[in-house]
């Protein structure tokens, strides 16, 4: 039970690493084939996801848990849209396509528009000068904001250039340092899984 998945993970992981270094079309075909398999697995997992969604919301409705009417809306939408999709397809001009464009997209855009308010509340909390680091953040943010509007240039001609320098030098250096750490961490995690050192994804801690 334990040996099979570890060997399979090693073979697939090692193959994909090898293929990365081999431009030959035969090797790239293996890569494409494996990606196709991943898509097929995803399609089957989506059935599991739909069952999970149904069970979660059906339980909420059955026991009249908090927010159960929302669950009812979710399940009715799931059934109606799936039914329409099977009946008419999902192409241009179909009902599913119109629901997507006229209901789903505006709702998603509305949610995204709320981001401005969340940024404001997070900034308000972060910019309180509680300690040295928070004060540094506050001062930098103020300089950035002033330097990015025309009044900044009016106060001091070098303000826009200074804010560019803040972004391109100290900020970018910190970002790249984190990115290098993330890259090495990702390689380390991938190798741990491929070599069978990390088995948490199999449901076993050791």
């Amino acid at each position: 039970m334990r040996f099979g998945p570890i060997v399979l993970t090693f073979l697939v992981g090692a193959t994909l690493i090898a293929v990365f270094f081999i431009p030959n079309p035969k090797a790239q075909a293996v890569n494409s084939e494996l990606l196709l398999w991943a898509t097929i697995v995803y399609a089957f997992a989506l059935i599991l996801g739909s069952i999970s969604l149904w069970n979660t919301h059906a339980r909420k409705i059955r026991f009249k848990l908090d927010g159960w009417p929302y669950s009812l809306v979710t399940l009715v939408t799931l059934v109606v849209v799936t039914g329409l999709g099977i009946w008419q397809g999902v192409g241009e001009g179909t009902l599913v396509n119109r629901i997507y464009n006229m209901v789903n997209s505006p709702l998603a855009s509305t949610m995204f528009a709320l981001l401005a308010f969340f940024i404001a509340s997070a900034a308000f909390r972060a910019f309180r000068a509680r300690n040295v680091e928070a004060t540094l953040l506050l001062v930098t943010a103020l300089l950035m904001m002033i330097g990015r509007v025309s009044i900044g240039e009016f106060i001091w001609k070098g303000f826009p250039g200074f804010t560019e320098w803040l972004l391109d030098v100290p900020n970018l250096a910190a970002k790249r340092a984190i990115a290098i750490g993330v890259g090495l961490g990702a390689v380390s995690t991938a190798l741990k899984i491929i070599l069978g050192i990390e088995r948490g994804y199999l449901g076993r801690s050791r």
Binding site: I17, F20, F21, I22, P23, N24, P25, A27, A38, V41, Y42, A45, L46, L48, G49, S50, S52, L53, N55, T56, D66, G67, Y70, N104, L107, A108, M111, F112, L115, F118, I119, S121, A122, A123, R125, A126, I178, A179, I180, G181, V182, L184, G185, A186, V187, S188, T189, A190, L191, K192, I193, I197, E198, G200, Y201, L202, G203, R204, S205, R206
Partner: protein, 264 residues
Amino acid sequence: MGAALDTRWFDPARLNLLVGLLLFLTFLVINMLRAKAGGAIYIRPLAGLKALDEAIGRATEMGRPILYLPGLGDMSEVGTLASITIMSRVARKVADLGCTMEVPCYDPVVMAIMDDVARHAYLEAGRGDQYKPGSIHYVSAQQFAYVAAVTGMMVRERPAAIIYMGSFYAESLFLAETGNMTGAIQIAGCDKVTQLPFFVCACDYTLLGEELFAASAYIGREPVQLATIAAQDWAKALAAAMIVAAIALSALGHPGLGLLLKTS
């Protein structure tokens, strides 16, 4: 005329990457041998991971659930793999203490794997019968539908602790700010550099970048796992030395090393 097919069996432009990978493997083997021989491997304390126990304990005392969010990444994202291994450790502690954990998922494959992982964690803790099927469930594969559902859960169920581990995108601030408003203790770990500031602003503890990948080994404390972090640190030290050397040589008019480090 189409482009000619590249029939080579090795891309020499990627030789530096291969050398880097082999060096990393060498560091890994050396440190694993060190760990197996009983050599001490020091890992600096990570406040965010220490707080995990506190968060789980708090949830148990308050009788409220823990919300674990694995991010929007699929199984091809290493951040998601790290999240799954961290979740297995968290689930084990949750099972030991007897509190409840909910994991709303964005990706159905991640959901299926996490469900199995959590089930096994409960079995390992000897509490297989207490695992609630459906506690790890699918929500939606649409970013803002997922956000709407999860923030709704936060507001209605008022979890005592919210743990964000994995790959997050534009939804990070929505989730972390809403969680902050509910008063939950929040611990985040993310491998996306652009989202880290949002988590730092809104969460009590944040694992920055590579700390997410070190978390699983840190929680488990197994010597072989810790050895992988030591190997990672060696690689980072080498990378830093190479960068400094490349900059110095380039400034002196010898860009060779810098060009050697360039990847295709």
